[in-house]
């Protein structure tokens, strides 16, 4: 009982004299008196525990001052420092045997805060008292809730598992049922699933209706024995279990925070976790990744390795068939080793439990918890979401519970709270049928997008861009493995055909096109949009997806007439890639009679765009009758611009204008009047083209080269070439 002597020093207030109105001088004198007494006596806490362990059945409670005094001593220590394991056994026994009366039973349960671990014998004994059946119902409920609260502190669960059947028998009690189901959920192993138990649960479900806790337990049973549970369960079960730890939350977290040094909090083993390892405090009412508990399992006769005992990848590989998962599934999230294991083994029950824990945390602690605006609350949430993000990126697929959480959260998001994390999580969303995309994703995003800043708009487009890339990558990988029927991420049971996939991609691209066109109208310049088109134009070649979507007019024309050269160059590159994609598609169609078919409309659209671009930039004639950008001649004349037709060609284009002037000055440094038309003559034109493309406009270069047949820099080797090389050194 070494630690008891440590704890005794904390009982500074003598029992029975808790006078809150005592002044500080009074306290000091009391303390001195207490110290004097203590020198002679043994510690009061140990004495109190000894007394309580000897309380017999039938002890008179009312008016029993001694009992009351000792209770108070123990209560004080419990709420300040927590109780050591032996004391917990004693107290639990005392409470549940009702030796000290029923009021004391609930009272003791309420302050039963463990300091380190809870011995499993105490729980087993408690369960046996439960079977005796003398406890009042609220005490029984309180006891089961207490077990759930301290579940992770129980040192070993083997004996609990062996009395699974006894615990299961309580499932028929209506008041106990939710909590018993939760406890069973945590304890169930494969060997516990039997047909008669399934039948019992189904009977109860028939009586009570489809309660979420029953459904959750049945879902877990189904994972272990799909043949025994034949009813259809929704693949995404909502958070099912009632809150159980409200009574002890505050006290428990306070005690654990105090004992931070003493309690063995295992730093979760992580091989390459990107975030710095902060001390993961076990705060039950905050969002935190719980640490992998380090309870020892010396009494277990199963030769299993606990996941938290592994220290290196090599050990994981050696023992991969013997691993037992921790009870607190959330602790797997921060550790790369654990994620490796999850990914290899593909254990459905593990992923079910992990998803459940994740969904529950996100729902209860984040969505439903009122935001109090404190900065550490937000930073904690931020860290939590970053950990989820890290895990998802490590596994290269998203969790289904994050997905449902995001759909719920998007409709109440204000666009500002935790924006980078939420947008990154959004881009991890797996493929979904196009029917749901509008309701779940597009509607809320639209509302946020159109009323937010430019920065937010660009971030959203970026996020949708990366989502598209992930979908395309996933498709190109899985299409290689399977046939046309592609199943979604490994945990989902939905399958999707190639045409369904194409529909979804098309919807996404169209949506971004809409966002982009309208965003450009509202904002004036958004270079970011063009990046999206990079991915889209190459869908055929890079990802072998037979889908070619042209950029909408609302994106194409602003880019064509943009005032910054980067957009123009990128547009050139995009048109060049489109041309490549389309020619290849046409060739394949003709040669091999593929099942896909690029519609004529696509070709028409491309031709139209191509015409517009070449005409504007090369032929100096941008307002063709019948095109999208035809403007009445008289209107143009009103603008009083000289030579309006060539205003968007390679020399006069607002984006390239400055280069033309620079070139002009280099060619004719002595000329005072700038006459850009003189660049068009003969060899100057070729030099200008080379000069322009040396500035880095590769996209434009490719575009001009392939569409007009003009190639710069490959002119004949005459001596003028030598001279122009001299010019540009």
């Amino acid at each position: 009982m070494a630690d008891l002597s440590n704890l005794a020093g904390l009982g500074s207030e003598p029992s029975g004299e808790i006078d809150s109105s005592a002044s500080s001088a009074n306290n000091r004198s009391l303390r001195l008196a207490e110290k004097e007494r203590r020198k002679g006596e043994a510690d009061p806490f140990g004495l109190a525990v000894k007394y309580l362990s000897q309380v017999e059945a039938g002890t008179v409670v009312r008016g029993n001052d001694e009992l009351e005094r000792n209770m108070v001593v123990v209560e004080t220590v419990a709420l300040s420092k927590g109780l050591p394991p032996e004391v917990i056994t004693v107290l639990l026994d005392l409470a549940l045997s009702l030796n000290a009366g029923t009021t004391n039973c609930t009272r003791v349960l309420k302050f039963l805060i463990p300091a380190t671990v809870v011995p499993q014998e105490a729980i087993v004994k408690g369960a046996s008292w439960l079977c005796v059946g003398k406890m009042p119902m609220n005490a029984q409920v309180l006891f089961v809730r207490w077990v759930l609260t301290v579940f992770d502190l129980i040192d070993c669960k083997d004996n609990l598992r062996s009395i699974y059947g006894f615990i299961f028998s309580f499932v028929t009690e209506e008041n106990l049922c939710p909590f018993i189901c939760h406890l069973l959920y945590l304890l169930t192993m494969r060997e516990h699933v039997h047909p008669y138990r399934v039948r019992k649960l189904l009977d109860i479900q028939a009586k009570m209706g489809r309660q979420p806790f029953l459904t959750q337990l049945l879902a877990l049973y189904k994972v272990y024995h799909p043949d025994l549970v034949t009813l259809s369960l929704p693949s995404r079960v909502r958070t099912g279990f009632k809150n159980h730890n409200s009574t002890w939350k505050v006290a428990l977290s306070a005690v654990q925070r105090k004992n931070k040094g003493a309690v063995l909090v295992d730093q979760s083993l992580s091989l390459d976790v990107k975030e710095k390892p902060s001390t993961r405090k076990r705060k039950l009412h905050h969002l935190a990744i719980p640490p992998l508990s380090s309870a020892f399992d010396s009494n277990s006769n199963k030769k299993v390795f606990r996941l938290q005992e592994l220290r290196s990848f090599k050990e994981l590989l050696e023992n991969i068939h013997n691993i037992e998962l921790p009870a607190q599934m959330g602790s797997l999230l921060g550790s790369a080793l654990a994620l490796h294991y999850l990914d290899c083994v593909q254990d459905e029950s593990a992923s079910l439990r992990l998803n459940f824990w994740l969904g529950h945390s996100l729902q209860e602690e984040f969505l439903l918890c009122p935001v109090d605006g404190s900065s550490d609350n937000t930073s904690e949430t931020c860290r939590f979401l970053s950990t989820i993000l890290f895990s998802q990126q490590f596994l290269q697929e998203g969790f289904s519970s994050t997905e449902s959480f995001l759909y719920k959260f998007l409709s109440v998001w204000d666009g500002c709270l935790l924006r980078p994390q939420i947008l990154d999580l959004l881009s991890d969303i797996p493929l979904m049928p196009s029917f749901y995309m509008h309701k779940l994703l597009f509607e809320p995003l639209k509302q946020l997008y159109f009323t937010s800043t430019v920065f937010f708009k660009c971030s959203v487009i970026e996020c949708l861009n990366s989502m598209l890339v992930k979908w395309l990558t996933w498709h190109s990988v899985s299409a290689l493995e399977g046939g046309l029927d592609i199943s979604l991420n490994s945990n989902s049971t939905m399958t999707m055909t190639l045409s369904g996939f194409m529909d979804s991609v098309m919807e996404l691209v169209r949506f971004v096109g809409l966002l982009a066109s309208e965003g450009l109208r509202l904002e004036n310049s958004m270079i970011n949009l063009i990046n999206m088109m990079f991915v889209v134009c190459d869908m055929f070649l890079k990802y072998s997806l037979p889908l070619i979507i042209m950029p909408p007019a609302g994106v194409f024309y602003p880019a064509l007439f943009a005032t910054d050269s980067v957009s123009v160059d990128r547009l050139g590159y995009i048109m060049y890639r489109y041309r490549k994609n389309l020619t290849l598609a046409k060739k394949q169609e003709q040669q091999r009679e593929q099942t896909f078919h690029i519609s004529r409309n696509t070709y028409k659209e491309f031709n139209r765009n191509l015409q517009a671009m070449v005409n504007s930039m090369w032929n100096s004639w941008w307002s063709i009758p019948g095109s999208d950008i035809e403007i009445d001649k008289d209107l143009i004349a009103l603008s009083k611009v000289a030579e309006p037709w060539c205003r968007f060609d390679l020399i006069h284009h607002p984006a390239l204008f400055s280069y033309a002037i620079e070139f002009h000055q280099r060619c004719w440094p002595e000329k005072k009047n700038v006459d850009l038309g003189s660049i068009k003559i003969g060899k100057y034109w070729n030099w200008y083209m080379e000069f322009l493309f040396n500035q880095g406009f590769d996209g434009l270069n490719n575009f001009i080269r392939t569409n007009t047949g003009h190639s710069s820099g490959l002119s004949s080797q005459d001596d003028s070439s030598a001279s122009y090389r001299f010019l540009f050194h």
Binding site: L367, V412, T453
Partner: protein, 166 residues
């Protein structure tokens, strides 16, 4: 019954007026401060009210109101009731782009939510920025012609039936 009409008055030069209606008066002042503190190209007038109809005495001196924002606190039922009763005092034309709903403390799932605000300082600032964007369009000051009606049609949330959470 005097209805609040959107176009009955002449707008002032380079000015936009926004009316914040909130029953509890919690978020109003914070939001008003944030709105005014932002650097804008145009003058922003913020008027506060607890509910509609607005008092008759100021009717002549009141400028044209470009945007009406109803602030609803989802944790208080009275807030919602007050907004509902105020809505009866609005001319139907106002709903074509001149009315906006701002929701706070909304953590449960809702549909048809237009704007949601979290109570942090950042959240209030962000909400103010978004309101200004909407205000700019409502007051007709958007650079490329975008009318309030068009913007509201872009951000419209279609009425959906209960999705099977499957």
């Amino acid at each position: 019954m005097a209805l609040l009409t959107p176009y009955s008055k002449v707008p002032e030069l380079n000015t936009a007026t926004v009316l914040l209606v909130e029953n509890e008066e919690e978020l109003q002042s914070k939001l008003a401060n944030a709105l005014v503190r932002n650097e804008n190209d145009f003058n922003v007038n913020v008027r506060l009210a607890r509910k509609l109809p607005l008092p008759v005495e100021n009717k002549e001196t009141r400028p044209r109101i470009d945007l009406i924002v109803f602030i609803v606190n989802l944790l208080s039922e009275r807030s919602l009731q007050s907004v509902e009763s105020s809505l009866a005092h609005l001319h139907s034309d106002c709903f074509l782009g001149k009315v906006c709903f701002l929701v706070t403390d909304g953590r449960c799932v809702l549909r048809h939510v237009t704007l949601s605000v979290s109570q942090t300082a950042d959240g209030v600032n962000a909400a103010a920025v978004r309101l200004l964007n909407i205000l700019k369009v409502s007051a007709g000051m958007s650079p490329i012609a975008t009318t309030a009606l068009y913007l509201s049609s872009l951000t419209r949330c279609s009425v959906t039936s209960e999705l099977e959470e499957d």
